[in-house]
């Protein structure tokens, strides 16, 4: 069977201030294939796709779509040519409903009057949501959804656009295994209908499950394109990072000590039901669970970002009064949030300002800032976390997702808190950067810090944690020690099935 080429991106180059994002990259997609695009953070995947989706303009090169050369000046051009993109960093219209977001610009109207047929819109939206097995009222506002739900709506939108090519940028980074399986069913359907999918992901296991071919980018250049059956995970990783990766998880040498933090009966009506747990010096406690289990809400409570109805937070035997984040920080509790762009970073500020912002008190004398001190600490942190940036003065918005996450890490490491809560700390980050972050986490545990790690990635929970508590629908349904950790066990507790 001859595979018809539906898309050729030839010799694409793109330059940003201080960064050459794409250097002569070519990509070829055939009709009805699921084509993986992989690479470290900053390799150029998102940039290449944003050019295809009409969001960025290429500096040089050409786009040939279904035989004709095209030039996209805006994302509407791409959409009209059948290219839809589901973004990694979600950008929904928060104050509009799910239905309005899905049909933005294509709202069904009543006859020729131009008046929106709301009933039709909600009905049609429900059809696409049901296809993805998503049980949310299409009249709900985007603002009321969490990250995972918003992502599913984005996918529904792309599917509703009847696109010939759908670009999925880290589609499963914030959704659970069940949703992921669901998504793959949808992808297979699309494949049968001759829709091509460009699949950007760091989850190599998934890629080998669903994709036909895989293109590897590194530092803005194309390294290889292979058929999935003809390659393997190790080879791909080597191509991505340019070196052999024999161990994915660093050795943990920390020995847990006395109890550092104790959380008793935290409750929020309708959300959290009497959650209690403890974490010790030098221990990495995992909190696993499905979407909607309440883990992020729990973390926000402990950190003072969310009001709780009841519950105590006790550190080293002392009852803490935490009403606002500053109370938590002063008591040595820090939180690396789930959504770095909205809660973790000031995108229009530079690296230095972002790293220092939670710790300014330590660099202030008589009210004035010790700029040199901040700069030195910042440079140390850049080196320590291997942050890919042009320097302390670079605006954080220009960094890739993984490096942005490292900045958030750096900010909290600087405060030297001793209870570190991590909410999905490696979401949307490449394999090599993940390893670096795991190493840092292990190091912190070795120094006696208590780490609470919320994660939906089984491998990292099993590979890193000393102990795992599992939440389901606002309750703690199980606690598992390191020796008994297994994917099946975690999943069982997470689904609320009693052992």
């Amino acid at each position: 069977m001859i595979m018809k080429t539906i898309l050729s991106m030839n010799h694409i180059c793109k330059q940003f201030p201080g960064v050459k994002a794409l250097d002569d990259v070519s990509l070829e997609i055939t009709e009805g294939e699921v084509h993986a695009l992989v690479g470290e953070n900053g390799a150029g995947k998102s940039t290449l796709m944003k050019i295809l989706a009409g969001i960025y303009r290429l500096d040089s090169g050409e786009l040939i779509l279904d035989g004709e050369t095209v030039k996209f000046n805006a994302s509407i051009d791409a959409l009209q040519h059948g290219v839809a993109m589901v973004h990694q960093e979600l950008m929904p219209l928060m104050d509009m409903t799910i239905a309005e977001n899905i049909f933005l610009g294509r709202e069904p109207v009543i006859g020729k009057s131009g008046i929106v047929n709301r009933k039709q819109m909600v009905q049609d939206a429900k059809v696409f949501l049901d296809k993805l097995n998503v049980d949310i009222d299409p009249r709900k506002r985007m603002r009321d959804l969490n990250v995972a739900q918003m992502q599913l709506v984005e996918i529904a939108k792309a599917i509703s656009c009847k696109a010939k090519i759908i670009i999925m940028d880290e589609p499963t980074s914030a959704i659970t295994k069940k949703e992921c399986d669901n998504l793959f069913v949808q992808i297979n359907e699309l494949r049968k209908n001759k829709v091509s999918i460009i699949y950007i992901s760091h989850k190599l296991e998934e890629i080998f499950e669903i994709c036909d071919r895989i293109t590897v980018l590194r530092d803005g250049k194309k390294i290889s394109v292979s058929e999935i059956e003809k390659t393997d995970v190790n080879r791909i990783i080597t191509e991505m990072v340019g070196r052999e990766m024999d161990m994915i998880f660093p050795e943990g040498t920390a020995v847990p000590g006395a109890t550092l933090l104790e959380v008793k009966n935290i409750a929020i009506k309708g959300l959290l039901h009497s959650i209690s747990f403890h974490v010790r010096h030098g221990e990495i406690l995992g909190i696993a669970g499905l979407m909607g289990a309440g883990r992020t809400e729990l973390a926000e409570c402990i950190f003072g970002l969310r009001k709780r109805d009841s519950g105590d937070i006790i550190k080293e035997g002392n009852l803490l009064n935490i009403q606002k984040p500053i109370d938590a920080i002063k008591n040595g509790l820090v939180l690396v949030p789930e959504d770095r762009k909205s809660t973790g970073l000031n995108l229009i500020a530079n690296v230095e300002d972002n790293i220092s912002v939670a710790n300014l008190d330590n660099y202030t004398k008589y009210g004035l800032i010790d700029q040199r001190g901040i700069r030195n600490s910042c440079n140390d942190m850049i080196k320590k976390l291997n942050i890919k940036t042009t320097g302390y003065g670079q605006i954080v918005d220009n960094l890739s997702g993984g490096n942005q996450q490292k900045i958030v890490f750096g900010k909290w490491l600087l405060t030297d808190g001793d209870v570190i809560i991590l909410d999905d700390p490696t979401r949307g980050i490449d394999v090599y950067a993940k390893y670096e972050i795991y190493t840092i986490i292990q190091e912190l545990a070795k120094r006696g810090k208590a780490i609470i790690m919320i994660s939906s990635e089984m491998p990292e929970i099993i590979g890193l944690c000393d102990r795992v508590i599992v939440m389901c629908e606002g309750k703690v349904t199980g606690e598992i020690g390191k020796e008994e950790l297994s994917q099946e066990r975690i999943m069982r507790y997470a689904s609320g099935i009693a052992t």
């Binding site: 201080g18 984040p325 000031n346 229009i348 939670a358 008190d361």
Partner: protein, 319 residues
């Protein structure tokens, strides 16, 4: 190679664009009329922009947090009236200069605090709140003064706006001092960092332990203080306190801030830019006055410059 050179050039242009624009206009005016580039005229320009400049300093803090203050003109006016009331020579209500000045500044500060609390704690939109305050305080000014101007100040009060120190008009000195304090506060202090953090991303700032509500309240208080000081100085200069004074001052203040490069969406900018913005507006007004251009045309020209400044600012952000 050519591209990187262009990149560097555009970066420099965006940072120093306002200075280049100022230098350009300054040069053109110096050539256009011989009366412009003289020492007396330069001092006049400085004195003319001082009052607006002080207000614009306060406005900078507010706009950096992403807010706006439309009530500055009214606060300035009321501060002038109150301080004038206690400075009428030989009257029953005459108070020592320090008390009179303090009273005026305090009144403006209190309304600044009210602005701040309504916006930061009440979570009401700054535009509406300060528009309301603007109207309310203007009304209070009319009630307080019974609609009539206050004149006949004692010498101490007159000295503030009309005197000079080493040939430099006192309003200019006050402006200079306020500028210094503002630079230290916004650029070099911890509070200043908090201001930028809140303006850049309020949620992230809160999650980093910053008391965003307190910061937001404080910038409006600072705005109030600046208005109070400017109000006293202007009233002294004009030798009369009028309930109609300083109408439209908010537009000039905002224009100075925006032209100076501070972004209206917050999180970006600075006080030094504001000063240059104020100077630019000042020399244009001054130059056009010398060349006998009617004030009607001046309004059109001023508006066009603001548009140009905002356009360049947007282009800067996009790149």
């Amino acid at each position: 190679m050519n591209k990187t050179l262009m990149n560097r050039f555009s970066l420099i242009l965006s940072k120093f664009g306002i200075i280049i624009a100022f230098a350009a206009v300054f040069t053109v005016l110096s050539i256009a009329t011989p009366y412009f580039l003289t020492l007396p005229n330069m001092i006049t320009v400085l004195r003319q922009i001082s009052f607006n400049g002080i207000v614009a300093l306060g406005m900078t803090f507010i706009i950096v947090t992403g807010g706006i203050d439309l009530s500055v003109g009214s606060l300035l006016c009321l501060a002038g009236l109150v301080s004038a009331h206690y400075s009428v020579a030989g009257s029953g209500s005459e108070m020592p200069l320090a008390i009179a000045v303090l009273a005026g500044v305090l009144v403006a500060t209190i309304f600044g605090l009210i602005n701040g609390l309504l916006i930061a704690k009440g979570k009401l939109p700054p535009f509406i709140v300060t528009m309301a305050t603007m109207t309310i305080v203007r009304g209070i000014s009319l009630v307080y003064s019974d609609g009539r101007p206050i004149t006949g100040f004692n010498n101490g009060y007159k000295e503030i706006g009309q005197g000079s120190v080493l040939n430099i008009p006192i309003p200019v000195v006050i402006f200079g001092v306020m500028l210094l304090i503002s630079v230290i506060l916004l650029k070099y202090s911890k509070f200043g960092r908090h201001v930028f953090a809140v303006g850049g991303n309020e949620k992230a700032a809160i999650a980093s332990g910053i008391n965003a509500a307190k910061v937001q309240t404080m910038v409006y208080v600072i705005g109030g203080v600046m208005c109070g000081i400017a109000g006293v100085a202007l009233t002294s200069r004009l030798n009369a306190a009028s309930p109609q004074a300083a109408e439209g001052y908010e537009l000039d203040a905002i224009a100075s801030v925006v032209i100076g490069g501070t972004s209206l969406s917050g999180g970006r900018g600075g006080v030094l830019g504001t000063v240059i913005g104020a100077l630019l507006i000042g020399i244009i007004g001054n130059g056009l006055d010398i060349m006998n251009v009617s004030s009607y045309y001046q309004k059109i020209i001023k508006g066009c410059i603001i548009l140009l400044a905002v356009f360049l600012d947007r282009k800067n952000i996009k790149s």
